[in-house]
Amino acid sequence: MPHGALACEDGPLQGVLICPDGYLRLTLARLRAIPLVHLISGLDTDLGQPTSVGASASCIAGFTEWGSETRPALSLGWDWQLDSGDGCLRYVRTGEARSNIMLIDDRQRDRGWQPTATLLASAIDELDWQETVFDCVQARYRWPTCQI
């Protein structure tokens, strides 16, 4: 166990190590079991806001922030873009995740910050986040109703 870490014995963060370096350490399996709630999503404003349903999908990109309703809290954010590659509009994650999470293996060893980012990206792709982001962005920027 990392020096100075406090292990949560029970509650929603059971199995999570709270560490002085600012990381919350947990296994990928544990992460998948902790509900994440949406905090905020937004557009990359200098790429311009879409003015119609027919706006170019390649110009529509932004960010989204999620976290756990715990103290301390897990924080997970990533970028997305609206993709129309296969004829359907879809929100897809772009790039790596940004977080306060260090994934550990079953022996409590760090997986490393870069492998963690890669694994978090895979975990994000398993989540149903797209509709939440769509709803938030639509409400925030007053987009006309359209389907994703």
Partner: protein
């Protein structure tokens, strides 16, 4: 890009004034931050004799970037203004932890359509690495910084080992974070 770093008393004559003016141009006039500003520039309570500055100049000697470094053993921005960004942890008070703040890398002489509002990417990465080296020379092992999404993206783009200290605070619809940068 030429980079100069040091305490205010060690900076070349006139550079501190140019830096203050540059900070006003970036943070107040361009980004709209609500900061204490005078005709001659932008400073705050964390601009002290022991503050270390990293200043980038272009080939014409104009300021094109800046960063501010403070030891966490004294007052600093994150501890005094944004401690909630630390996810319940106590603000660091360690001689080998320094704070990075007032980071910008805009050359107002160059037009940019970059999505990183206060940075041109390649210059920003170079300046970031200079600031990290400067901090390390002061004995820092880690940096902590209050930052915005654009800078968090930039840091990741540069392949720098950095991570959040906790969830963001939403300010005017945009997230701000505390981040750790490992040196």
């Amino acid at each position: 890009m030429r980079v100069i770093s040091g305490l205010p008393s060690h900076l070349p004559d006139g550079l501190y004034s140019k830096l203050a003016l540059y900070r006003r141009q970036v943070f107040v006039e361009k980004l709209g931050w609500q900061l204490n500003v005078q005709d001659w520039g932008e400073t705050d309570q964390f601009d002290r004799p022991d503050t270390v500055y990293v200043v980038a100049e272009d080939s014409d000697g104009q300021v094109s970037g800046c960063a501010r470094l403070l030891p966490t053993t004294g007052p600093y921005l994150l501890a005094d203004v944004f401690p909630d960004l630390l996810n319940g942890a106590a603000p660091p008070r360690e001689p080998d932890v320094w704070e990075l703040s007032r980071f910008a890398a805009i050359n107002f002489r160059q037009r940019s359509t970059a999505s990183l509002a206060q940075y041109s990417a390649s210059s920003a990465v170079a300046l970031m690495r200079e600031a990290m080296s400067c901090a390390a020379a002061q004995g820092a092992r880690r940096l902590v910084t209050v930052t915005v999404l654009a800078m968090e993206r930039l840091i990741r783009l540069a392949g720098i080992h950095a991570h959040r200290a906790g969830p963001p605070r939403i300010v005017d619809g945009e997230p701000i974070y505390a981040c750790w940068i490992e040196l």
